[in-house]
């Protein structure tokens, strides 16, 4: 494993998913794996961290995310053209369109982490159905789906009908969780080479 492309909504220590991405990025760097991160929101001054902000506003979070993904895709393509990467790791539905498209374009495996599903969040707004569709597509197209809690594990299995062998629960509260993520990277890369 030489280089990983991380796609995150937020890269900060201010919220759980932002922390998750930050700790993972730091761990991978410590292990000598080049990590390029594209995020919609970051205050990190790092040459390997790229900000993707939409240039047009939107009337709701779903439309905002879809437009922001266009910028994320461009950043991802440019990184691929300049440096290349072995694997894409997208986090949550909000980065899934870019993750899926970049995986299709570069033919690199996609790892998809779901911190929660739309069903876990209550399926409670008018965009729940379309968000859930994106989650389904991303779990379908990903080489491996990682969840970090039992609720998400059950939802991915029963709401999104993902076969058990494609999903792994990795609890970020437990020691060595990043190592398990890396393990999945290695497996996905091997599978991709075989394919």
């Amino acid at each position: 494993m030489e280089r990983v492309l991380l796609l995150c909504n937020e890269l900060s220590e201010q919220n759980p998913t932002g922390r998750h991405c930050t700790y993972l990025k730091n761990y991978l760097s410590e292990k000598g794996i080049d990590t390029e991160t594209v995020s919609f929101s970051t205050n990190q001054q790092d040459k390997n961290v790229h900000s993707a902000r939409p240039i047009v506003g939107a009337n709701n979070p779903f439309n905002w995310a879809m437009l922001a993904n266009n910028e994320m895709k461009m950043q991802g393509r440019e990184i691929h053209e300049k440096k290349g990467f072995d694997l894409i790791h997208a986090h949550d539905w909000i980065t899934a369109p870019a993750g899926m498209a970049l995986s299709k374009l570069t033919e690199k495996p996609l790892i998809f982490t779901l911190h929660s599903t739309e069903n876990n969040r209550g399926f409670s707004n008018q965009h729940s159905q379309v968000v859930s569709s994106i989650e389904w597509w991303a779990t379908f197209e990903a080489r491996k789906v990682i969840v970090d809690n039992l609720d998400a594990y059950n939802s991915v299995k029963y709401d999104l009908n993902l076969p058990e062998h494609k999903v792994r629960l990795i609890d970020p509260m437990q020691f060595g969780w990043q190592e398990k993520v890396l393990e999945e990277y290695q497996k996905a890369k091997k599978q991709a080479v075989k394919a």
């Binding site: 240039i55 047009v56 506003g57 939107a58 009337n59 709701n60 779903f62 439309n63 879809m66 437009l67 993904n69 266009n70 910028e71 895709k73 461009m74 393509r77 053209e81 369109p97 899926m100 498209a101 970049l102 299709k104 374009l105 008018q126 965009h127 159905q129 379309v130 569709s133 994106i134």
Partner: protein, 382 residues
């Protein structure tokens, strides 16, 4: 060159004029020797090839509104474009109207290809920008003009509207009119008989368009009594989907229900036939960037009475191929209809002039050639 056309509608799925436009353009580009792929919406994923044009249909998903639906459709279009690009390197991308903008920009950024964007109308002109929702559509139109390397507009006046509304660099904006496939029109109407649609004593006034405010149908209905005063034998035939009940109610309120026939949505062949057998066609639009109905009317050698707005200012030549009316003015519509209906020979002469003008100036081979010029510019400056 390898061209990818993006349109949300493509025959047989048609709502407005964009589907026909893309159909004719794609066929003409193919006959010029270009490789053309079209990605459009379909209920199920499918592929077909007609006259050398490869049409890829992709579904969207359930969404609470058209914008979000278009966003998801864009995502599916983009995946399809990546597949196509692996087989044939796409050299230029051509998107049509705001519904394809999210997907088109995604493809442009993902594949690194130049983008042309044809804008057929604006939200401000169609419905007005009065809510968060319509503002979002307006913003997507801006986004398309911002991201496109070259912008194509279908009307000269409309070019100025785009420049003043979205402020793109002027040199990026190109006016290329819509076109008319006269061969297809003639084939479709070869067996059309007037007696199938109207009695010998009747004078047919034909309207084709969506039943929405933009098309000015209420002004036409307002004009009907004043036409009937002079021409009791006039019969108004209106084809198009939309707010049919509302307009039927207006006609009933005016007491002209027995003289106004609302056909609802009908197929292209019937539209063409009705244009051919009509004594005069009418287009009372309050906003019309181009107005393909003028060319459809002229193809059938039928003169048109049209509002002096947008594209009609160019396509309908006053007192030569039709008559202009003041926009949103029912008295003006009635006056001009009465003028044509009172002089059959003059009407026929204007209809023939319209056909000649269409043959000379709105041929698809010309339009496709202009369009490839714009593609060339987009590629050159990329």
């Amino acid at each position: 060159m390898n061209v990818l056309l993006l349109t949300w509608e493509f025959p047989p799925n048609k709502v407005g004029g964009i589907g026909s436009h893309c159909y004719d353009l794609s066929r003409e580009l193919t006959s010029m020797g270009h490789e053309v792929d079209v990605i459009t919406y379909g209920e199920q994923e499918s592929e077909e090839e007609t006259d050398g044009v490869r049409v890829h249909r992709v579904p969207s998903t359930w969404a609470p509104d058209t914008i979000s639906w278009a966003m998801f459709l864009g995502h599916r279009m983009e995946k399809k474009a990546i597949e196509i690009n692996k087989e044939r390197k796409i050299e230029v991308l051509h998107a049509h109207d705001w519904m394809t903008v999210p997907g088109a920009v995604g493809i442009k950024k993902m594949l690194g290809v130049p983008m042309a964007f044809t804008i057929h109308s604006t939200e401000a002109g169609r419905n007005g920008v009065y809510s968060e929702y319509s503002r979002m559509i307006n913003d997507l139109e801006w986004y398309g003009t911002y991201e496109a390397n070259e912008i194509i507009t279908v009307g000269r006046d409309f070019s100025e509207e785009i420049k003043s509304r979205f402020h793109p660099p002027a040199e990026k904006v190109h006016y290329i009119p819509n076109g008319m496939d006269l061969k297809r029109y003639d084939e479709a109407t070869r067996n059309t008989k007037r007696s199938d649609y109207a009695g010998d004593w009747e004078k047919i006034v034909f309207f084709a368009g969506r039943m929405v405010r933009q098309k000015g149908v209420e002004h036409l209905i307002d004009a009907v009594p004043n036409v009937l005063k002079e021409h009791r034998d006039a019969k108004f035939v209106l084809a198009g989907g939309g707010n049919l009940d509302e307009y039927r109610a207006i006609a009933a309120h005016k007491g002209v229900s027995d003289k106004t026939y609302f056909l609802g949505q009908v197929d292209e062949q019937m539209i063409f036939s009705l244009f051919k057998i009509a004594d005069v066609s009418v287009a009372p639009s309050v906003y019309e960037p181009f107005g393909i109905v003028a060319l459809e009317s002229f193809a059938g050698e039928t003169p048109m009475v049209a509002s002096s707005v947008g594209g009609f200012k160019e396509t309908v030549k006053h007192e030569w191929s039709g008559l202009h009316t003041y926009p949103a003015n029912s008295q003006s519509i009635a006056d001009q209809l009465n003028r044509v209906l009172s002089d059959e020979k003059w009407g026929s002469w204007m209809g023939r002039n319209g056909r000649k003008d269409t043959e000379e100036n709105y041929r698809w081979d010309k339009i496709a050639a202009y369009t490839t010029g714009v593609y060339g510019r987009a590629m050159e400056l990329w």
